[in-house]
Symmetry: D2
Subunit: 339 residues, 4 copies
């Protein structure tokens, strides 16, 4: 039985607590929050837990095997480090850390102490992303051409990070999970509209090695409409993921492109012969399980069996590295930052 | 009566010819095309016209007052220059020219000879763009925040230009028409997927002076789905233009953002207070007139009354300057190009 | 303070209990369910309530002022009658009763004992229906032409009633609420596809007095897609309610019809001159309050202030009368049943 | 070579003429219209044809083998009869005739004279209906449950027929084509909103022999929105046809229903066990050919090879019989009319 303590019972913490409470092989034993009110709520929902105000007290507690850190990003490193030093496995809210140096240090530490790190890239556990990964891994799409993601709405400003750190971790972690290619460079363009604020809209382009594959992300807190759409094109088939669709989130288009070079154009001019192919559309049924539920169970399994999670420290580091480089590019007016 | 000759009777030329034929005060008198087959078709449709194979013969013809140049972009400059030198007004397919130097030379020439140039930015004459301009000009949207345009589909590759030169002139000309701000710099990211080809997907970010207004364009020949969507947000209202919608192309959202700076946050920390407002949506009825018909009539009127067209040489130059800078940025790996 | 007991803690009962628990001026004091498991759940959620297995025990309890009856329709009459006889106000799940005779008897009884009946026509309290009523009451739509409702999905078969009794009470109660006209006759067509079952798809037409106003309802458990759409046309404006739309549930179309009779047609033939008008579309923002919450509060208010609820016994009777007549028509092969 | 004359060059006639002009093995030789203006237009488009004002002159012309009758329905019988008597094959606009007696007489006459009748049920030749027929014929949907069609818009009033005769022939001919079952009875409900007019909205229910299959049609000239949607459910799969969708007109849902009767319910009560199944969705690519083009070619082929057209006189009669019965039902307040 894995005894779990949760630090942070604000917006997302209650979901994490609920799912670890329900996970087979796990036992929710403690919840920590600075706020008396939030702590009272936690104890009302789970009368059997220990309510703790000081996170380090929770971390030191000998009755706890693993700590879920569901706090703002700036606090992840300190809490995670303390937890690892105290011999606890950690489940950390995304983004993993505020800098890639912090992420690397935590990864090293966990390795030395043989502890598991899992970063809460929840979307990887949705039916949609599982299906997308399966489709791409099968080779059905052919040679991949591009990945285009739009995640915009009239949204809540975060007070401590810009829109890239707020929204892009979802999409960067998904992309890293389903696209088996190495990013080479990144460029970001964004804008701050309100004095004293952070970038509230941004565009991030990620260059990859070989073959012209390009990824692009539009994140935005100022859009009148909510859009959650990802296009992934291959030369054989193409895929659209619309996360707001109730029943038809993932569509696979039997559409493709074929290109032949030819020197036989009229006037002997070199000519590119492009042909497009358009066929049926297929909308696969997706698994309906709650993503966080599956992820919590997976954490328990990884700890029990000593397995490296797919969304472990390295996956978390990769996302942080991209976020960090995007920030660097923003600061330098969109300069291409080599990764 | 304005006597008009049309050079080029391929894909778009027949539409230009048809609308000048129908325009009050204009008379279609000659059509030129290299291809015998196209020329025969033109003469079949308009038995009264002169069919001409050599464009310079048409340009020199004394019975012609204005020349519509509906040919590939690489030929615009030579034909336009010859026409202006021969004392003809010109209507030129977009993009105006292949370089901004050419555009400037033609503008100067036309000025010296007191001739009109109109660049065929057809979209400006659609009911949707007219309405959008009217809404923005009225100040209804408040302080403008961003302009985001997506124009993607599984499309025909042009053989002579990249996807930016093919698709972005639409959106750049629309943006320049409705947004009364000066672009400062541009950055473009794109990818060539097929050897010997041109960029087939691209992202273009345009920075503006003052206040953080940002414009962004996604153009793409490799998308499984067709999207023609533009978001224009202000801090008072926001607008979405979906050109593929049959009856609801332009939607105006009574949604906005208000931001107050405050030093009274708890712990005395400076805090940004953001509030979002969400109200009704309004879908205005749009004028139903064919855009090119209105544009052709406007050309006749500008020539007759000696008026400078809104889509004149300067408007054409502005688009070419942006395209040129986008190409420059592409070549330098997304470098920010100051305009 | 109004002390409330809830009978039935199955699918809908928990929502009723939760909202009476939260209503100002009300106190949830007892919950009754046959099932030990459901009762335990109720007591877990509301440890302070009395859990009762026998509904008549709850009804007789002197500490209770009002009873919410959230049970299958066949049991409504007996329970409601007992409650009224015991001097309790009643809140009854829709449809009110299994026959109109029962409904009339309960109405009489409540009147004699000066008690309130409210039938749970929840939809009347949604932001959408409130807005629709307001628009129609304002006269904005002009002369009403028709009401067309489609409520279909691949749904759960009820074991005890047909699809009309399952789904149409929603739409019949809404129509009766927003349309201030008297129904004259009804005809229903339906089909039973599975031996031993009830009608699983049905079409119900309701004729009204005067002017050709017609209402029609399509209810269906066998549709591959879920549709919840109502069209209400007037000769001045027209309204569409799509309950599945997230943000644009109610659209008001500035579209209309004008008809002039003329004898001046060519050949002296009498001719009908019809002209259609098409203008803007308006999407009003709707109130976001949970419907059942507003309804529970309204029940408390009606009891406290001795007010006749808009969704009182008469409203309930009206719906039952239409359901009953629809069943009669079904049995007689679609015969027109005068109301 | 089949020499064809077209009577009627109003709204639809030009399309018929154009497609017979283009059909292999056919020659458009004459066009007839009462209006000088329409006739001049016809001769301008097809300078080689004979323009005729008197339809009987065209019908008698010895140089003509087949006559296309594209006139209002009241004139079909007289013209068709004259044409058959003159030994011409006929292509008749839908609905075939104004009464079923007329249709029967024409069928007999054509048989006696060994001439072909084709009724212009154009929709049967669309890619969508071809695909739907193929899917149903394959048995993929399982046992058919219902056919539900909605064809509504803010439309042009016909001056000579009601909305059923105007719009329903499309859907009735499609249903008869794809559903291999015998209709037993019909009931129609409708309303006349404008004095001196015809029914402008109507609902038509068609009962079939055996198994509870039911068809229903909603036709309407007063709807604010345009809907062209047909649901066809089987117990194994279900199909939705949305004719307004650009690329996804036909969707096949792998959804179904299974019902088992059981006597083992608790309390020994007979219970119906229903289970729903939900799987993938498939959107087949449709043939893109213009329907009328395919139909015109098919007419030529049927005449040349002496084949009975699928959309021959009997198909036309079937639709007229349903329209006639619907009218009868309307007149009798929705009475069930046995076919």
């Amino acid at each position: 039985m894995l005894n779990i303590g949760v630090i942070g019972f604000g917006y997302w913490g209650p979901n994490v607590a609920r799912n670890f409470h329900a996970a087979a092989g796990a036992k929710l034993v403690a919840i920590c929050d600075f706020s008396d009110k939030r702590l009272a709520l936690a104890q009302n929902n789970y009368p059997f837990i220990q309510g703790i105000k000081d996170p380090y007290e929770l971390i030191r507690s000998t009755g706890i095997d693993a700590v879920a850190i569901v706090t703002p990003v700036f606090s992840h490193y300190e809490l995670a480090k303390a937890a690892l030093l105290a011999g606890k496995h950690i489940f950390v809210e995304k983004p993993f850390t505020a800098t890639s140096a912090q992420a690397r240090e935590l990864i090293d530490l966990a390795e030395r102490k043989n502890l598991r790190i899992m970063v809460d890239h929840t979307f990887l556990f949705t039916g949609a992303v599982r299906k997308i990964k399966q489709v791409i891994d099968s080779g059905e799409l052919g040679k991949l051409l591009f990945y285009d993601s739009v995640r915009v709405n009239l949204g809540l400003f975060q007070h401590d990070v810009n829109v890239i750190w707020d929204l892009a971790p979802h999409d960067l972690s998904i992309m890293a999970h389903v696209i088996d290619k190495k990013p080479l460079a990144i460029a970001a363009h964004g804008s701050i509209h309100f004095q004293g604020g952070f970038e509230d809209i941004a565009y991030v382009a990620v260059e990859f090695e070989g073959n012209g594959f390009l990824a692009h992300f539009h994140v935005n807190w100022l859009s009148p409409v909510k859009i959650r759409q990802t296009l992934i094109s291959g030369d054989k088939k193409m895929l659209v993921w619309d996360d707001l669709s109730a029943d038809e989130k993932v569509k696979i288009y039997d559409r493709g492109v074929e290109v032949k070079s030819s020197n036989g154009g009229k006037d002997g001019i070199h000519e590119l012969l492009v042909s497009y192919r358009s066929g049926d559309v297929h909308i696969p049924k997706l698994e309906a399980m709650e993503a966080l539920k599956a992820e919590a169970q997976y954490f328990v399994e990884c700890v029990e069996k000593n397995l490296p999670p797919a969304n472990g420290g390295q996956a978390g580091l990769q996302v942080v590295r991209l976020l960090e480089a995007a920030d660097e590019s923003l600061k330098q007016g969109g300069k291409r930052i080599v990764l």
